[in-house]
Symmetry: C2
């Protein structure tokens, strides 16, 4: 199963190595800011669980996940985002990333067609490749996705899955508007394709208005992926998948049981305890404000330091800005140059299934101070200038 | 991938349903006794981590696992069991069960041959079937395993894996003696087969002497699986695989990274903190004494209440006794009768890959009081008597 060459993995290793240099200013990772870690409240929550519910927390538990936590997630979907998720629709997993494996194992056979955005989250590409899927990429744009391309691919190939990150996408920061979502939902309804709506950043909107969830538009044809990684902690591995498709959920739970029985109960129970006993919305608001400030600082720095020919996205939430260099400058070469001056970026290549030597790259503003953003962006700007001159 | 009928799963569901009846005396599950849950010490440990190391605990972490925990595991292998494991040989996973998936994904192709004990742990059968392995079963006995059968299968089929639980096996409670281990190691050395040494109960020896680990006998041809589920908590999903085979470990870590990035850091760090700051050996000794007492109570009850024709194992540790009924009484029928009187047992069937309608069954003494053991065993004895008379 593991015979294939994993381009995405090689790239991650390369970037991780770069980022581990001391004093590097890193815009490369997708790390939440530690401001999002409510350690004092979590301490109380773990303590409460160990004092009062330890016989449940420390024993084997059911695979689907702690019912109180599933109720909280469902209730928040309804009250905050008007999404009709029930506790029974949810399977708790070890971070949303485990969802790729579970969904693939349950739905895919060798050579099945899968549609992804181009660019997209690299772990999705890795998993679909691991399951020997045929990956078809559709270009993402500032309204959502290239609808003609999507239509053609849906027509040409019976596709099992269409994987989307409709809010503040990783890596581009782009968001699908309501109109595009409705058109896509109508297209999908005419097929047997299941749409995966990955929404790890949805709560981190700092501008504009929430757009409608595919979960409401597509009923049994959608699987929602969610996570506390960006609002509480990625070190605690608690995420979920949710679907109204009973047959899929039954198989997903069976597979998860074989995979690792269930997700850590102290973690699930501590998160439930924390959300029920603190002002979680206020905590999220604090993260939103910080990321908004840092995003603005990064956009200001682009306008100040980058040549005018550079194109970039203006996210309304999340953690990422996507930049396109002029004159076919390769972003890998830019990354190799900036790291010499202790600034790390993510070249665009690993976010594509096949495209290489691209001119796009990802910047993350989530885990950098405004000062470091200015300092690092200046260096990137100077480096681009130098490369442009030598062209 | 999930198309196959999963006999083991159907059986587990049936048993879980039986066990959920209120006031049932259950010898069916494999649940540790809550006495093994050091909740007060864990509370301190989680609190310490959240106060002092929260930026590490709550952020994304490296896939291989928390280095301090890996050092503790390696050091304990050396000092307690004289097994030469280094921190670098270890990959931390979400409970040892995740090891089945990781090992299978990394080593198996469709139709590869895998050898298991008969009977064996049902989750192993499930995973190997999921990966479309050809499963060959070798009968377990009171010295270890039927060596002639093993020799024949190794000769006849190039086998990728040989899965063993050499200490207080699940479901039989049997242990391989040193002589058998050495003979098996010599056989394996002549092949390219990798031996999986699953040892979740090894620390729970309450009688006799430790036998030599395959890890020392087989060097790069062995993968060790271990867990804190039976000594600290199964609700905290922290286990590990360990191997000197560098190529295997590299692939295993890569696969785990795609699977779920890493295992919960608060859990890993709290366990490390707990072991470093309490008398873990004393804690294990407490569990051993309790299980010894309960095991003795169960054996006394067998001798008191079961007909003389019944055969059973006498474990030197762990959690299980394996019973064989006379005159081809089907253990499924026995289980269906005893549950009517609120006593649950595990029929032997799901512990075999293919054998059905067997006369063997598993009893677990770990999570029952001495009083309930006597009460429940009396009912099983009466039921067997009744079934024997109607034969």
């Amino acid at each position: 199963m593991m015979a294939k060459k994993d381009f995405q993995k090689e790239f991650s290793d390369f970037m991780l190595k770069a980022v581990s240099i001391p004093n590097v200013i890193s815009f490369a990772g997708g790390m939440p800011n530690p401001i999002s870690f409510p350690n004092k409240e979590l301490k109380k929550a773990y303590s409460f669980v160990m004092d009062n519910h330890y016989k449940t927390a420390l024993q084997y538990a059911n695979t689907q996940g702690y019912i109180e936590l599933r109720k909280i997630i469902a209730q928040r979907y309804k009250s905050k985002e008007n999404i009709n998720v029930e506790a029974d629709d949810i399977l708790i997993i070890n971070g949303a990333q485990q969802g790729f494996d579970i969904i693939s194992a349950v739905t895919l056979n060798d050579n099945d067609n899968v549609i992804v955005e181009a660019p997209t989250f690299l772990a999705a590409i890795q998993t679909f490749n691991l399951y020997n899927a045929k990956i078809h990429s559709v270009e993402i744009n500032d309204k959502g996705i290239n609808l003609d391309e999507l239509k053609n691919i849906l027509k040409k190939y019976k596709s099992k899955l269409f994987y989307t990150i409709p809010n503040f996408q990783n890596p581009t920061g782009l968001t699908y508007n309501n109109e595009t979502r409705k058109i896509i939902a109508d297209m999908i309804k005419k097929t047997n394709t299941i749409l995966i709506e990955d929404n790890p950043y949805g709560a981190l909107r700092f501008k504009g208005e929430n757009q409608e969830s595919f979960f409401n538009l597509l009923n049994e044809q959608v699987i929602l992926m969610g996570s506390f990684s960006k609002t509480i902690s990625p070190g605690i591995r608690v995420g979920w998948i949710a679907s109204k498709n009973k047959e899929f959920m039954k198989k997903a739970i069976e597979y998860k049981q074989i995979l690792d029985v269930h997700t850590s109960m102290p973690d699930q129970m501590a998160i439930a305890q924390y959300i029920n006993n603190s002002d979680f919305d206020k905590h999220i608001e604090k993260i939103r404000k910080l990321y908004h400030k840092q995003c603005n600082a990064m956009i200001n720095a682009i306008e100040k330091y980058f040549p005018k020919e550079v194109k970039y996205t203006k996210p309304e939430g999340g953690m990422f800005i996507w930049v396109e260099l002029p004159k076919n400058i390769k972003s890998v070469e830019l990354a190799n140059e900036t790291i010499k001056r202790n600034v790390a970026i993510s070249p665009g290549d690993p976010f594509y299934n096949k495209k290489r030597n691209v001119s796009t790259f990802r910047l993350s503003y989530s885990n950098c101070s405004v000062e470091n953003i200015d300092k690092g962006m200046k260096i990137i700007g100077e480096t681009i200038d130098k490369m442009l001159k030598s062209k």
